[in-house]
Each structure stands twice: as structure tokens, then as C-alpha cells.
Amino acid sequence: MKVTLISIPVRDQEKALKFYTEKLGFLKKKDLPLGGGNRWLTLVSPEWQDGPELLLEPAPNHFEPCKVFQDALMEAGYPYTQFDTENVDADYKRLKDLDVEFSMKPTEMGTVKVAVFNDTCGNNIQLVEEL
């Protein structure tokens, strides 16, 4: 067995695709129709294209408990997942310039530095830099 997929729930797949590719810089890898306007939509990191795929799942629109959970995480400021970066401060600045909203500025946490932003699709996402 292999770990190859990280899934995150999104309210609007098309909007998520735009945000995750245009602002965060991920690349689209797979995009196939699943009926009813839903897609199997995955992204990869440009510098690690054979690495794990990020699945943008329309789950909150079809399964109420997922929506409830997602809303609760958002309200508490909890990240749904996290991405590694070489430099949190640089990404913070770059994304701020692209009007991305942060609920937590770059903050040191012992051996890591973290920041949290809103992905506009229902999730907080954490950036992590190992110090």
C-alpha cells in the first residue's frame, strides 16, 4: 500500500482550482467528471510532481456532517491540513500581496515556524517551515 493522496473538502471545486493553482501555485494533475457536475480533481506541487496529490473534494455539498465539521474547524481557526515551505515569511508576503487572508501571521513554535491562511473554499490551511 502507498500513501499518495491528501483530500480536502471544498465548497466550490472550480473556485478552489483557481485559488490553489493561481495563488498557491499548485499544478492540476487529474480532472475527470464524476457526474452531477462533480469532478475527481487533483493537484501536485510544481517541484514534486510525482509526489502526493491533493484532492479537492466537493464533500461538504453532499454530506452534511462534513460541512458541519469543516465549519467548526474554520470557526476555531484550526487548519484542515498543512503544506511545507522553505520560507514561511516569504510565502506570507507573497500571498498577502495576492490578497490572501491570514488568521495567523508567521509564528515560531519551537523548531518550526507556522502561519495560517483562509483558502476561500471553507478551510484554514497552515504553512510550516522547519527551523
Binding site: 481557526g77 495567523m104 523548531t111
Partner: protein, 134 residues
Amino acid sequence: MTFYEKELNRIRSIVYSNEGQINTVIGIRNYIENNYDVNLNLDLLSNIQCISKYHMLRLFKKYYGQTPRQYLIDKRIEKSKEQLKNGISVTETCFAVGFESLGSFSALFKTKTGKSPTEFQKEQLSRRKIAKEF
């Protein structure tokens, strides 16, 4: 302040309250990061921070969740992938990232990535060629 930030503060006060230890392990990690290509060993790493070998080992594991050796191997494998992608030969790559024997490099590479260095390189270079052709 969000609930999450409060939680981070709580965890910070439990796990990351010892600044001296944190500076020590960050120093060790940075040293590995900048010197993965030379012959590193525990004695050397602990001497840099003037602490005993076993204390250093324990601290590193406590804060990074891996031993320095495991961390170093992962770093070398990551760097060797970059070298192989750039068309550097397997032998040259092996020594450039700090491994001392071709056999152990190839075996480790295969264990960590699922492919031998030669297979990995062939795949990467042919992928690039295909991308150009299409």
C-alpha cells in the same frame, strides 16, 4: 485569538518551553542541512553544541521525531534526486551527497524511493524528453 492559537500557546508552553534545548537542536539541524555532503557522525554533531553524544541524540529525536542519522539520510536522498534529475551520474551523485559506498547508496535509494538510482534517472530524463516532444 482563535481557539487554535490558544491551543498552540498551550502546546508551546508544554513542549517548547526550554529555549536552550531548542537552540541546540536547531543548531544541529542547520549543521546537517549545510554539511550533509561530508562525513558526519554523532561525535562531530555533539561536539559542535558541546553536549554529550547521547544527550544530543535524545534531544534531536525529542524535537524532530527522528534520529539525526535518519534525518541525514533523508536529506541526502532528497539531494541525490536533484542531482540525478540534472543528469549527474549515479556514482558522482553518491559521493556528492556524502555517501561513501555506491552499494549502500543504491540500496538506500531503492528502499526510500522504490526505484534504483539508475531507474529513477532514466525515468526522469525520458520524462523530460517526452515533455519536450509533445
